[in-house]
Symmetry: C2
Subunit: 233 residues, 2 copies
């Protein structure tokens, strides 16, 4: 089992792998920034430039990357391609992940069509819905199966990650069945708080939280404008 | 104008309002946890229980809430209803926000139907699409307008926040026009990095990042299981 430890500055980290959770959370952000740079034909990047694209400060970025054994070269920076490989490997993206999407409504369909998943090693291998009118149709080349067949289909397709885009009232029941069938990670879009066993990873996406943070900053900016206008008058 | 300052422990904060940015980012999470508790009929909550529901440590939660002037009562905790009002006010949610959704495809439609927005003070007042087959239809009671009428419709509806659910290649152009028409905050779902002026707030939602973090933890948990199995054999 992984042994949690504490860094000299108090950061909690996994002693065996040596990567703090906060660093883990930033790795995909770096990967995304690096992918953008790679698409633009960039070969090497300084920590300052990468930090700016990723939206973090550069000393934090250097420390984060040092956990992966990447220190860059003075005056040159990091090799984009090498760094992409190191981060991908650390994120487990050198293996492909099979994903099942629960709910083939507008959100489930939008997620199935989301190009960002496939390009990052996630393959949607199954979709489920309870509506008999939708079951049997195809979304982005994936056949929509009946939720009644959950156990059989998860077993056949080897899906280990699930995306829940189902109505709130049925989310927990479907979550329980998915976990029993072998799902090890769940991304929850349903408006409910789910209970899962310790060994299952759960992340909740609440889009209204993003909108609330945006509204807060927009309000603050508007208040600043008002103060400036008064100062000028 | 707001004057940024530095707390005694080095936290950067807005000196006039006194709320650090990291605290601001957590306020909606607390609000969501409190709403869940209120729905369950909970009247008061300890910092430990609220911290657990919100997924932060309780000392951080107490410090965050102290910025709002909320210290709780020893042995009793926080009054759920009072705290909801304090946070809402600080987040600017005591005022309603008019939101325009750009793109009436599966994602835009799912977002328009998203019940979490309306219940948190966000009203979708306008939807736009470029596809003439969709323009004129109604999504969740909102008429889909032509993207050609962007300026007129934003002006008429008084929308100040925008949700971008459009294809990547057209996102920047639509963003520029929306900002010129008076939009002050943008939640971007399009797969592109947008440039906005300083006074416009921009947040990017990248769903594959959530899935990558999930995959990382799932991989790590699987590796732990393997180690445990070996130790037991």
């Amino acid at each position: 089992m992984a042994k949690p430890g504490t860094d000299k500055d108090g950061t909690v980290f996994d002693a065996e792998r040596g990567i703090p959770d906060a660093t883990v959370a930033r790795l995909p952000v770096y990967l995304r920034a690096l992918s953008t740079l790679a698409e633009d034909g960039v070969i090497t990047v300084s920590s300052e430039d990468l930090a700016e694209v990723a939206g973090v400060n550069s000393s934090k970025l250097r420390k984060d990357l040092s956990y992966l054994g990447s220190y860059g070269t003075r005056g040159v920076g990091y090799e984009v391609k090498v760094l992409v490989e190191q981060i991908s490997e650390n994120l487990g993206l050198s293996q492909d992940w099979n994903v099942a999407i629960f709910g083939a409504g507008n959100l489930g369909t939008a997620l199935a069509q989301y190009s960002g998943f496939a390009s990052r090693g996630f393959t949607v291998v199954a979709m489920f819905d309870a509506d008999e009118a939708i079951v049997g149709t195809t979304v982005s080349g994936v056949l929509v199966r009946s939720i009644d067949d959950l156990e059989t289909v998860i077993d056949q397709t080897g899906a280990h990650l699930a995306v829940l885009a189902v109505p709130g009232p049925v989310a927990q029941e479907i979550c329980d069945r998915a976990v029993a069938a072998g799902i090890r990670g769940i991304l929850n879009f349903a408006p409910s708080v789910l209970q899962v066993p310790d060994w299952v990873q759960l992340r909740k996406v609440d889009l209204s939280i993003e909108l609330q943070i945006l509204a807060f900053h927009a309000q603050r900016a508007a208040a600043d404008e008002l103060v400036m206008a008064k100062e000028l008058s």
